[in-house]
Amino acid sequence: MNTITNDTWILSVGTFLPLVGVLLMLFIPGSEERTHKQIGIVTSAATLAVGILTLLRFDFDQSDKLQFFVDSEWISVISSNYTIGLDGISLPLYFLSMAVTFLVMIYTWDNMPDAGNPKPFIMLMLILQVGMAGSFIAQDLILFFVFFEVVLLPMYFMIGVWGGEQRQYASLKFFLYTMFGSALMLVAFLALFFQTGAASFSFAHLAEAGALVDRDVQIWIFAGMFIGFAVKVPMFPFHTWLPDAHTQAPTQGSVILAAILLKLGTYGFVRIAIPMLPQGAKAWAPVIGILAVIGIIYGALGCLAQTDMKRLIAFSSVAHMGFVMLGISTLTEFGINAALFGMVAHGLITGMLFFVAGSVKHRYHTLEIKRLSGLLIQMPRLGWILGFSAMASLGLPGLAGFWGEFPAILSAYNPNFGLSVGLYRTLMVIAALGTVLAAAYLLWLYQRTAFGRPNPEFTATPHPVGAGVDGEHHDVHIHDVTPIEWVAWTPFLVAIVLFGVYPQLMFDVMDPAVTALVEQVGAGIP
């Protein structure tokens, strides 16, 4: 694999910079809450600045090559190196993780979860950011695994300490389930390592050597990775941790979980499992495709059955990640491009939906759909944002969600490498039906919560006669979008429109890398 060695410092600094903030915070007493929030914002802003610099220094004409490449000795005893690099596949996700963390920090300024105590909360978020960014730059399996696991613990504590009523159950389930996946994944990594002659853990080496492994062995190794990544995505039937974790997590946790953490699984498929085990991937692709489509329909049905807004949004992730996995399972350029686009789009859109859910909860102290009504009257702006995000989520063209969904459906018409055309065309039609269900659960949610008149239980406060006609009438507790929320949300909203109107912004970066990847996979399939 061609690599470009320039600005070798930039990725390491971008990844580990948050730790500086963590160190600093260690020496400041927890009672100085504002200081901690400020440090959190400044640190993540600095990280984002490095991210923007990375974007500027990135050579977009060569996005199929690994850039800012570093390969230095790390744990030589197990031939694992500190190998990092960034190409068109990882760049959008790497940058997204930085942007989301920064915006979540800003949101935290006004919206600490009820448990309070921002010092550990912000420290955990910063550590989380290190793990996320690291996972996207790692070009060595052990390094990847370490970062992948670093993510786990902060999220466990975020849910377990700052979560909702059933936080302990949810956090433990999240932790154990993901650990279970990781264990199998590690076994698969080690097996691949030994099968390829135990020479190196580097991605480039394994992608070359892995293709030469026996087909049957590839299938077994792929099975291990499949479970590890599928739990993380999550794919049906390994998804049951997700609704609990999402529903119980604090808003910040839900947003990060939806925007970035789930993508570690899909990214793992694209970056590790498929290129390293081409024949295993081909053998497993129909299974992935079928499970993905079951997830689309099943997730949508699950949404229709929900009575809690946040849990509904959580279930919708199962459906949306189904589209992503369907795209990946076709092993085509179209499909994988769509999947990568879909990851970012889903991160932005579902992240935004979780923000809205968090703000609704903050104001009404409930997310029960039955009790919410007339949001558009009490909070017209928030109501509009909810409507906008719902439309984006159901895949309206012109907004980002469409470009992950439609090309994925399209790609299933003609799967690559002689995969069964009949099967995939059936999957295509079922997946397309899933878009109808998506419209159903999202608009139904919107109709029930935003339309109509506000529930009297939230309008009980006496109010002077002759209030403005434009929905100015509200309870003192029910206020519309705050300035801090605007600051945190506007980039999400702008990005959803921008990528929706001009998707070439992202496709241009990803496509060369994906084309190279698919070529490489094709070379490994006899």
Partner: protein, 819 residues
């Protein structure tokens, strides 16, 4: 190209600006609208006006371009606008142009995948030009109308924003260069339809109607996504060979007629795309959303749900017509899906229009029925009459809806119920009544009104192309149209005034559901109730359901000029637009300007070294029988594969020759429909003694039929109470039960099992065996003279665990290092 070089011009080359202007207008209205003096409506009107100017410019230059292709004598485009005047001049060449006029195509990279780049741009041909002009023109009139009609509404600004965005969406679709862009415009329209039907979302009925409309259309959209995918992969190879890609509309057309397209791909792609058209254009059996969509404000019904958006499905079929032409063998007289669905829709919707008492619902079913005519026309190979019917229908149906709005605004106290609140209004509202009559005449197809020239052509061409069944369907539909419109006209404008039309004022009789909602608002929460009441005081004007005080002081009267001016303009066009293509007076401008000529075009590679040698002329038949038409084609584009080096972009189409003799049956049937209906109405509603008075109570089969119609063929029951309810409740609940109890049950079971195993191991192995052994050894040790005093039995466990842990880690490291 054999003809002289085609002319082009700034307006044609930059037609892509036409949708961009309202799109920017939308953003400006949202951002600034509320702070402006006219609350954003001025931006909406200005942006649509600017687009109209550009569209007129583009139309002018397109006509220039067509004439430069060498068709007939040319008297300048302006004269064409005045159809009457033009007919005096010697007519242009009988056949019009003979060469295919290249559309003006421009494209910019929009996205890429797999190394292919896909564009965003414009595809300007006659069809696009016609709709650009139509949409901008009607949008402008409706926006002007709305400034009066919804003035004072609490969401006035949002209303104009959504109307403007709608126009942008429709225009994007109309000039779409490729299928993805078409989908973009198509879905933006769906969104605006949702926003505008649900404009008064405080009432549950409105928000339900909005949801139903979006959702039903979305069901059809599955076909759009799937069809686009099928066609893309079918056409892409051919398209790439010809320097394009499989989304490009021109490439799809060329590929479909190239003879290289597989029949099954075309058939299935066509079926899928047609399903989308069924959803969007309210064809049977997905038409049920359209009448419910009348819950939206009347200008919305007028613009979106009659004249423009709902023709999107028809437009889709007309746009990639070659796919359907070949896929469904339209050139033969085989009965095909499009014609069948169109035919069923014509009759089924017309029948429903007879039992409505809401004036807007009559018009809604009439729209469905007329859309059926357009589909039928496309299905029988009458492309041009169908497209012409889009054009004429837009004017008279828009006029009818605006007239209904005018009646409700000034005549019937915000009621749309013909039976309760109308009657005898022609005296009070002469302008509204006059424009209504003219448009009704056009809709019924009375000679010399525009509908006659378009609808009759569809019927005539169905016959001419050998589709005799659909010829009769068309005739029956025409009689039914005349009859139900006569009924509506009678109920509205004649007879004795009733309810509000008689000056009675009643608080909530016109809409029980809304009245009840108000009452609830007052009872349950005083504070809020007060607020809404207050708000209603402000927006009563124009709010269909809420106006109680505004017009309370006086009875029915004529509407102000901002309402009547659009009515008059539209009424003039309801007559005049027909003369653009009136065979009875010998005009065929529309044919010349809009219809793509089905002649093969020489591709660039071949044009230099000549073509048409004997080697290339092996034009194989495309696989269907020669048409049965009087004077049909059996070869040429759409029938035989084009010669090598040439490409067909449009099939060759027949045009029936108009004679008054052939038009006579439909004229007679329409006359019969009007007279019979008038007589029946006098009996049923007017109290005249005749056999039809009280028929449904006297005669059981009539009653059954009536009930069947009143329940809309029970389709809504099937959809809402069976399918939707089943999916939303038992099926979703079952899926969720499986999730919680089976999938999650396994997870929790494993967790619990793990804990129990751990406890058991701890209790039985650790505490009894291991610890037992340790304790025993400790006992031994202590008994042996306190030799091991330093080992305190409580800590032994910890030490053991530490040791064991260290050994494990060491072992792993050793294993790793050794290998």
């Amino acid at each position: 190209m054999t003809a002289a070089t085609l002319t082009t011009g700034w307006f044609l080359e930059n037609a892509w600006l036409i949708p961009i202007i309202p799109a920017i207008g939308f953003v400006l209205i949202i951002a600034l609208g509320k702070r402006l003096p006219a609350k954003g409506s001025e931006i909406g009107i200005a942006s649509i006006g600017a687009s109209l100017v550009l569209a007129i410019g583009a139309t002018y230059q397109w006509i220039d371009r067509v004439s430069s292709a060498g068709g007939g004598e040319y008297a300048g485009p302006i004269s064409g606008v005045f159809g009457f005047a033009r007919s005096i001049f010697p007519s242009a060449s009988e056949a019009g142009t003979e060469t295919y006029v290249e559309p003006v195509i421009r494209s910019w990279t929009w996205w890429q995948s797999g190394g292919l780049e896909f564009g965003f741009g414009q595809h300007i041909d006659g069809l696009a030009i016609m709709l650009l002009l139509l949409v901008t023109f009607i949008s402008l009139l409706v926006q002007i109308f709305s400034t009066e009609y919804v003035s004072g509404d609490r969401r006035y600004t949002h209303f104009f924003a959504a109307l403007t965005l709608f126009s942008a969406g429709m225009l994007v679709m109309v000039l779409a260069e490729n299928m993805i862009q078409l989908i973009l415009g198509w879905e933006i329209m769906g969104l605006c339809s949702f926003m505008l039907i649900g404009h008064w979302w405080e009432e549950q009925a409105n928000s339900r109607a909005a949801l139903k409309a979006f959702f039903t259309v979305r069901v059809g959209d599955v076909g759009l996504l799937v069809g686009t995918a099928i066609i893309f992969f079918g056409a892409n190879q051919w398209a790439v060979d010809n320097g394009s890609n499989g989304f490009s509309i021109q490439a799809i057309s060329g590929w479909a007629l190239s003879g290289e397209a597989s029949d099954s791909v075309l058939l299935w792609g066509g079926v899928a795309l047609f399903i989308a058209a069924i959803g969007k254009s309210g064809q049977f059996p997905l038409h049920t959303w359209l009448p419910d969509a009348m819950a939206g404000p009347t200008p919305v019904s007028s613009l979106l749900h009659s004249s423009t958006m709902v023709v999107a499905g028809v437009f889709l079929v007309a746009r990639v017509y070659p796919v359907f032409f070949i896929g469904f063998d339209i050139g033969s007289t085989n009965i095909n899906l499009i014609a069948v669905i169109g035919g069923i829709t014509v009759i089924a919707a017309a029948a429903l229009a007879f039992v409505q008492s809401d004036i807007k619902k009559v018009l809604a079913y009439s729209t469905v029925s007329q859309l059926g005519y357009m589909m039928l026309g496309l299905g029988v190979g009458a492309w041009l009459p169908a497209v012409f019917h889009i054009f004429t229908h837009a004017f008279f149906k828009c006029c009818l809806f605006l007239a209904a709005g005018s009646i409700s605004h000034s005549g019937s106290h915000h009621s749309f119920d013909m039976k309760k609140d109308m009657g005898g209004l022609w005296r009070k509202m002469p302008i509204t009544a006059g424009t209504w009559m003219i448009s009704t005449a056009a809709l019924c197809g009375i000679p010399f009104f525009s509908g006659f020239f378009s609808k009759d052509e569809i019927i005539d061409n169905a016959h001419n192309n050998g589709y005799n069944l659909f010829y009769y369907v068309g005739l029956i539909g025409a009689a039914m149209t005349a009859a139900y419109m006569t009924r509506a006209t009678y109920l509205t404008f004649f007879g004795t005034p009733r309810g509000a039309a008689a000056g009675e004022h009643h608080d909530d009789a016109h809409d029980d559901a809304h009245g009840a909602a108000h009452a609830a608002g007052h009872d349950t929460h005083d504070d809020h109730g007060h607020d809404t009441n207050d708000a209603h005081g402000h927006d009563a004007h124009g709010h269909d359901a809420h106006g109680h005080d505004d017009h309370g002081a006086h009875g029915p009267h004529e509407s102000p000029w901002r309402i009547t001016a659009p009515l008059v303009i539209l009424a003039v066009l309801a007559i005049g637009s027909g003369y653009l293509n009136a065979p009875a007076v010998g005009t065929h401008y529309f044919t010349d300007w809009v219809e793509p000529v089905g002649a093969a075009v020489v591709t660039d590679e071949y044009s230099s070294d000549g073509y048409g040698g004997d080697d290339h002329s092996e034009s194989a038949a495309l696989g269907f029988a020669a048409p049965m038409a009087e004077e049909g084609y059996s070869e040429g584009c759409g029938y035989t594969t084009p010669e090598a080096g040439t490409i067909c972009y449009a099939p060759k189409l027949n045009h029936a020759k108009f004679t008054w003799g052939k038009a006579a049956p439909s004229i007679l049937l329409v006359a019969f429909g009007i007279l019979a209906s008038a007589w029946m109405c006098m009996g049923v509603f007017g109290g005249r003694r005749n056999p039809f008075a009280g028929l449904t109570s006297k005669f059981a089969p009539a009653r059954w039929g009536h009930t069947f119609l009143v329940n809309k063929y029970y389709l809504d029951h099937l959809y809402e109470r069976v399918i939707v309810r089943a999916v939303a409740h038992p099926i979703a609940a079952a899926a969720y039960w499986v999730n919680q109890n089976i999938l999650d049950g396994v997870v929790n079971g494993v967790g619990r099992g793990g804990r129990r195993t751990g406890e058991w191991v701890y209790r039985n192995v650790d505490q009894r065996v291991v610890d037992g052994a340790v304790n025993a050894s400790g006992l031994v040790a202590s008994e042996s003279g306190h030799a091991a005093q330093s080992i305190q039995s409580g800590r032994v466990n910890q030490y053991g665990a530490l040791l064991f842990g260290a050994a494990t880690v060491g072992a792993i490291v050793l294993i790793l290092v050794n290998i």
